[in-house]
């Protein structure tokens, strides 16, 4: 299906999987798939390493991203995701720092999880093994769970760019770690797709910030040496009520901590970091 041919843009029969939730979202993003019938633009923008040129990647008629165009553009080189389109209101998730962009094409081949599902990969030295989750979550019917939210940038981070560096993730887990580490920060979960959000952590630390929103289910990942904390509570599996959940992770060991959320900054606002999670189904 992924490698099938088709015209760019949406077919008349396409129905966005999130059409029913559009009224409750700030925005929604997916590298992998068109989520709304109303969205007919690009899914993401890719930069190739050979000459740093960039290209918008469109959805095919079936909604999935145009792999053939991506691989053609990145033939024999690496491709990095620059931005992911906000499919509802145009709040694009942007990583403007070249060194911190996730790799989606490696030497002409699509990056993938061990099971072959396409994904993005962090390539910064010391961070190998991080897979982001902007896609990889939507291959099975039970996995199309995601969340969109916003977090107020810590006061000590005056520039959006500094929030989105990998070093930020390394030090603080991610935006949620940032939120938990600093006062006057918050994460608001605005919408989830299925009344419960499965957050699976293949992580050593998951730092929590309160989420005002729907019920979230927190589950420890299958990786060894995990010690997840959910609001300070070590948890294997925990059902949390509204107002208390975690979408953060920090992974310091070897292997793949791919079951978590990804976060990028939208530079549409100087002090807001748009976060999102596309969450894998339970393995």
């Amino acid at each position: 299906m992924l490698l099938g041919c088709g015209s760019s843009g949406g077919g008349a029969s396409f129905v966005g999987p999130l059409d029913a939730y559009a009224s409750g979202l700030i925005d929604c993003h997916s590298l992998y798939k068109r989520l709304l019938t109303s969205h007919t633009g690009q899914l993401f923008q890719v930069r190739r390493s050979s000459d740093d040129d960039e290209l918008a990647i469109m959805p095919l008629a079936n909604g999935f991203f145009d792999v053939a165009t991506l691989l053609s553009f990145c033939a024999g080189t690496n491709g990095f995701v620059v931005s992911v389109a906000g499919q509802l209101n145009g709040y694009d998730l942007i990583q403007p720092v070249a060194d911190d962009q996730r790799r989606i094409v490696n030497a002409g081949a699509l990056e993938s999880y061990p099971d072959g599902t396409p994904c993005m990969k962090v390539t910064v030295a010391g961070s190998q093994g991080y897979y982001t989750d902007l896609f990889g979550a939507i291959t099975s019917a039970s996995a199309s769970v995601f969340a969109v939210g916003s977090v107020t940038a810590p006061a000590s981070y005056s520039a959006v760019g500094s929030l989105v560096t990998d070093t930020g993730w390394d030090y603080y887990g991610n935006a949620c770690g940032l939120a938990s580490q600093y006062t006057n920060t918050r994460i608001t979960l605005l919408q989830d797709a299925n009344a419960a959000v499965d957050l699976t952590f293949g992580s050593k630390y998951s730092w929590c910030a309160s989420i005002n929103g729907t019920v979230a289910r927190i589950r420890q990942g299958a990786s060894t040496n995990t010690q997840p904390y959910v609001n300070g509570i070590s948890s294997v599996q925990r059902i949390l009520a509204a107002g208390c959940a975690s979408v953060g992770y920090y992974y310091s060991g070897a292997g793949c901590g791919w079951q978590s959320q990804a976060a990028y900054s939208s530079d549409k606002s100087a002090d807001q970091l748009t976060i999102m999670g596309i969450l894998e189904a339970e393995a």
């Binding site: 960039e54 931005s83 720092v97 060194d99 760019g161 500094s162 560096t165 030090y171 904390y229």
Partner: protein, 142 residues
């Protein structure tokens, strides 16, 4: 390796470094704008987070004017040799259309501190940043 280089002009410098590969006229609105990220440490100082292995393809139209402007105060104050900008311009000229390991172009002052080989170097590793109390140690976080 990631190296932390003190620079109050980290954002501008990062943008200028990216400009060596993609001059402004080739960049789109939502495209890549910086080569490296930057952080603010726990004391409020800004650091460029440099990837010492990062290569860029120096564009035929690459200009180093902004980089020269950033370095000039260091030169004026005597922290960098007088010929730094000239030397850098020569290197950029030499590398047009070719790959450049960015770290190689950095003056020794901004490279990794080493007591024996580069005692004046101001660059720090992640571990050095934590040891200096400039970054929080994630291992101690709950």
């Amino acid at each position: 390796m990631k190296l932390f280089v003190p620079s109050s002009a980290a954002e501008t410098l990062s943008q200028a470094l990216w400009g060596l590969s993609r001059p402004a006229h080739l960049r789109g609105g939502n495209g890549t704008r910086y080569l490296f990220g930057w952080i603010t440490d726990l004391k409020g100082e800004r650091w460029l987070v440099l990837n010492t292995e990062r290569q860029i393809n120096v564009h035929a139209d690459a200009e180093m004017g902004v980089i020269a402007d950033i370095l000039q105060p260091w030169i004026t104050s005597g922290h960098l040799p007088a010929g730094t900008n000239t030397q850098l311009a020569r290197l950029i000229e030499l590398k047009r259309g070719d790959n450049l390991v960015v770290y190689d172009a950095f003056p020794a002052l901004f490279k990794l501190y080493d007591a024996e080989t580069n005692p004046t170097g101001q660059g720090k590793t992640y571990a050095m940043m934590i040891a200096a109390g400039l970054l929080a140690n994630p291992q101690t976080q709950p």
